[in-house]
């Protein structure tokens, strides 16, 4: 669209609101995503996310790839293709910087706000859910909701 816009989606019963990334943030995230990609599958997902066209993959193919446990773990852990000890641990959280919900899971309580600010509490024990939210929020971030 050209300007930062808001998008909504309910994932596993949790309603999320995310905006497209401002251009400077998108450029930063592109660089960090490109440094991940330790194998061909993750490379394809990343190309789908940040490429201007679809890179030859359908959305369902990307979601299927993203759902594979090994792929999901590598991407969420920000594993670097250059050095394992330089993994970008903060990448998944930073990809959610512009994502909010009014059903934040804060222990036994439910709150409202940024999943970036309450990342550890909200996603504790819900790695599969985190993967779905990261995939959607990143697509939205790069203008592919």
């Amino acid at each position: 669209m050209g300007v930062v816009t808001e998008h909504r989606k309910t994932i596993d019963g949790v309603p999320y609101v995310a905006t497209t990334y401002p251009a400077m943030y998108a450029i930063q995230m592109m660089g960090r995503l490109r440094r991940v990609a330790p194998d061909e599958k993750i490379e394809k997902i990343i190309e789908f996310l940040i490429h201007k066209d679809d890179g030859g993959l359908s959305e369902k193919q990307v979601e299927a790839l993203f759902g594979e446990p090994a792929v999901l773990m590598s991407l969420l852990m920000g594993a670097s293709k250059e050095w394992a000890d330089k993994a970008d641990w903060a990448l998944p959280r930073d990809l959610l910087k512009h994502t909010e919900t009014d059903q934040l899971q804060l222990g036994d309580a439910v709150g409202k706000g940024s999943v970036f600010d309450f990342f550890d509490e909200h996603f504790a024990g819900r790695l599969g859910h985190l993967g779905k939210v990261v995939l959607w929020a990143t697509k939205v971030g790069f203008g592919k909701p």
């Binding site: 050209g2 930062v4 990334y21 251009a23 998108a26 066209d53």
Partner: protein, 87 residues
């Protein structure tokens, strides 16, 4: 999906000659191109790229600048031709 602009390319303005000047070290090149105006740096555009303009918007700005540059070149060449010069 964006449609490609045939002549769209991110080229340093001095790349065709022997003198290039320095290149940006920390600022992404596409951001510099979007913000640079007639020898000045537009801080308002820079600020908007941090807040309200997304990546597609940045590409729109670059495309608009590229198109505008071709218009300026075309107008210059047309004026040269009308004065009896070679285009």
């Amino acid at each position: 999906m964006r449609r490609p602009l045939d002549s769209f390319h991110l080229q340093h303005p001095g790349a065709s000659g022997p003198h290039e000047g320095i290149k940006t070290a920390n600022l992404p090149w596409e951001v510099y191109l979007a913000c640079a105006e007639d020898g000045r740096f537009n801080v308002d555009t820079y600020r908007h790229l941090h807040t309200t303009v997304d990546y597609a918007g940045l590409l729109d700005i670059l495309e608009a600048r590229q198109v505008q540059a071709t218009w300026s070149t075309a107008a210059y060449v047309n004026a040269t031709i009308s004065r009896g010069g070679e285009g």
